[in-house]
Every structure is written in structure tokens, then in C-alpha cells.
Subunit: 242 residues, 2 copies
């Protein structure tokens, strides 16, 4: 039965040494394309629409229920297409979510200019806040899909892990550069690894807060306050040199 | 079939307004007990052993595979007991993981003294590091179970959300107190909400890093370095008053 490919019932396959299963159901990197289906046919207008209906259906299901409940059958039913159609575009639910995350990584790359531009020394918190808001905006648009990426990465799925690291690395490097530069300005030396390690603490706070239910943050402290605290923390990491 | 109760196949039940399903399969708060089974019988030595075999089996499965693959049948098989035995102790897989997380919350409460004791003004980073190490130690012992808690909380499951907030709240309050106190020492005022909001940024960084695969952190930057950066960030949040 086609649902088996979703991998939700296959208890015998274990993740050993970082995950055996994902290697089996995800194709090699260069096989990916949103331009071609799994038979190598170039997508026409109809193909693109069907593929989009499927990814939209997956987003909808992830918003309404848990990733534990996601299957190719459920996604196809929601998109009102056949399961066979699903497998024209994706090898599995994981494959689909990987492709969706690849597209989101391109949006995350648009955060880099927020970090490479020179920040206002008089009010760096204002520049930090712009970065924080843009980061949270991308997450709020793709929250469930990004949560799936992080869960898979954290559980040792090598493809998702690689994608997560590759996506965060430019942000960590640019924040690390700012930390290093400001230390130098004040006559202090900080190693590249130490500056990146401090940057990772900041991106970790950003990711954890972005994964939280917005309703909960608003009930407890308010999103504006938390975003300002994130910006404050980034500024302290860069400008408080002991 | 008994597996249905694990909730992994029930695609029709949707989480609306913060999750309808969990209310159905989790008993009222005061029903919980590790002293009694679901028939109200007090656990004897054999009952305690069976219950422990089941929770150990769940931990084992979560370490080896994904929460997407967890079911009452799989856990019972791993523990070498019948599925009927599983339902003597737990209403569902979620119920089991909720009970496991309740027990872990008591361990997390042991972090409070690390924050209430006075920190060495000459070297607060040493005290902050002790807290960071203890926090990460608890997470590394229960990582998969705590990741499940956070995933359920983030997806709007009200019981897990409540447990997560109740567990973190004392830590956030104590870190907030330190931030507020230090600001006062330097003649600055910071509101309780602002100080707690900054504390949340810190616990968020701690949680996100604790959820990461340790192998990945060691490959990228090294756990010691990242723990020191977390301690450094906590110290900056408390002691850098602008």
C-alpha cells in the first residue's frame, strides 16, 4: 500500500549512526528539482499547479494536526489528487518536506544583508530588531515546515541536518564577524570559533522562540517585548566587551 | 485494534483552538499517579517493574527512531509485555510521555538553587556555567522525552504547554530577579516583565542547544565552547547594564 512510503509505520528500520532511513527515501542532492517530476518530465502549467496543491495541502495539515499524523494519503486527499500523483512529484513525505525546506532556505539567505550592512553605532538595537523581526517573519510563514526540519535534524537525519547547518552558517558567520570586529575596536581579541559560538547562542534563542506558539508568547510576555529582548541580547553579545 | 489509541493514524481529529485530541486522551491532572494503575490498583513490586520496563522501552525507541514511529504496540513489544499491559498503566503514548515529563519536571526544579544562591561578583561566569552544565545534563539524560514535550507544547497541546510553562517559570523568574537586582545596583530600573522577557531569551537558547544532536555541536564548535558562550550570554544579560 502506498502509505507505507510515508515511513510512519516502519518500526524495524532504525536510525543508527545518524539515520539509515533518510538515505533510502531521499534522492541524491542533484536529483532535486521543482522543474521536473520523478519521471524526468518537465512540469507544465498543470504539473506545477498539482505540485503546489500538494505542498499547500501538507502545510494545511501540519497547521491543523501533528507531523505524527502526516501521510502521503492524507496530503493527497486534502489536495484532492490521487496518491499516485503525490509520488509523481515526491518520493515520500520526508522528501516533500525536504524540498519545501530547500525553498525556504533561499528566503533565509535574504537575512544576510541585515547583518552585513554597517549598524548604527548610536542605536544598534534598531538594526538588530530589524533582523529579529525579519527572522521571525520567515519562521511565522513557514513555522511547521521549519519545525519539521529541525526535528529531523536534531534526530540525526543527515540530509535535514546538512540543510539546517548550511542555512544557519552564513547568519552565524556574519553575527560572529560583528562580535569579532567590535572586540577588536576595543582592543580585545576573540577567536573566530568563540565569536561563532556566541553567535550560535543567539540564533538558538531566535529559533526556539520562533518555534513557540505565538499565542503562548503573547499570553506570557507579548511578542514585541520578546523581540526587543532578542535584539537587546544580540546588541549585548556584540557591544558588551568585558 | 489497540494501536489506534496511540493516535498516530487518526487523521480526522484535528487540533482546533489549541488541540482537541489531547483533552480526550489525557486524564484529568489529579488522576495521575505512578502509584496506581488505571484500574485504581496500587502498584506492587511487579507492577512497578512492568511500568518501568515500558517507560525504558519508550526511551529506547525514541533514541533509535523518530516519535513518528512510536506506538503502544511497538513499546510493548520492546518491553516484552502485552499491549493490554501497556493500557493498564497509560491511556496512550501521549499520556505515557506526559507522565514521564512530569517526573523530569521535578528534576528541572532542582536547578532553582543554582539561580537563587548569590553569584560570585568577581567571577559570575563560573556560577552561570554551573547552571548551564546542570541544565544540559538533565536534557542529555531525557533529551528525546523533553523534545516530545516541546513539540507537543509548540503544536498547541494544552497539557504539554501547561507543563512546559510551569516547569520553566521558576527558572525564568529567578534569572529575571538577577537581571532586575543588578540593574538596581547600577541605579537603573527594569520592569519585571522586561527582566523576564530577557530571561526567556536565555532559557530559549538553552533549550534549543540542548535539543541539538551533541555530535553536531561537537563537530562544529565543541560542547565546552558552546556551554561557555551560554554562560557568557547569561552574565552579559545580568551584568551589562546600558
Amino acid at each position: 500500500m502506498a502509505t507505507q512510503a510515508s515511513g510512519t509505520k516502519d518500526l524495524k528500520k532504525k536510525r543508527v549512526g545518524g539515520g539509515a532511513r533518510p538515505r533510502a527515501d531521499l534522492p541524491a542532492q542533484d536529483e532535486y528539482s521543482t522543474e521536473f517530476n520523478k519521471h524526468g518530465q518537465k512540469l507544465g502549467e498543470k504539473g506545477r499547479r498539482t505540485r503546489e496543491a500538494l505542498t499547500n495541502a501538507a502545510r494545511q495539515l501540519l497547521r491543523e494536526s501533528s507531523p505524527l499524523d502526516l501521510s502521503a494519503v492524507a496530503i493527497s486527499r486534502q489536495a484532492e489528487v490521487s496518491s499516485a500523483s503525490f509520488y509523481m512529484y515526491f518520493n515520500s513525505v520526508r522528501d516533500m518536506l525536504y524540498q519545501m525546506n530547500e525553498a525556504i532556505s533561499e528566503e533565509i539567505a535574504e537575512l544576510v544583508p541585515f547583518l552585513t550592512r554597517k549598524w548604527d553605532d548610536e542605536d544598534p538595537a534598531a538594526d538588530a530588531l530589524k533582523f529579529v523581526k525579519k527572522f521571525q517573519e520567515i519562521w511565522s510563514q513557514h513555522r511547521e515546515v521549519l519545525m519539521f526540519r529541525n526535528m529531523e535534524a536534531d534526530l540525526g537525519n543527515p540530509q535535514f541536518d546538512k540543510l539546517w547547518r548550511a542555512t544557519l552558517r552564513p547568519l552565524v558567520a556574519r553575527i560572529g564577524d560583528k562580535i569579532k570586529e567590535q572586540a577588536q575596536t576595543k582592543g580585545k581579541f576573540i577567536s573566530v570559533l568563540d565569536s561563532r559560538s556566541r553567535a550560535v547562542v543567539l540564533t538558538s534563542a531566535l529559533e526556539r522562540i520562533a518555534a513557540c506558539d505565538v499565542r503562548v508568547i503573547n499570553e506570557e510576555l507579548g511578542m514585541d517585548r520578546v523581540q526587543n529582548s532578542l535584539a537587546d541580547m544580540i546588541v549585548k553579545a556584540i557591544y558588551c566587551v568585558e
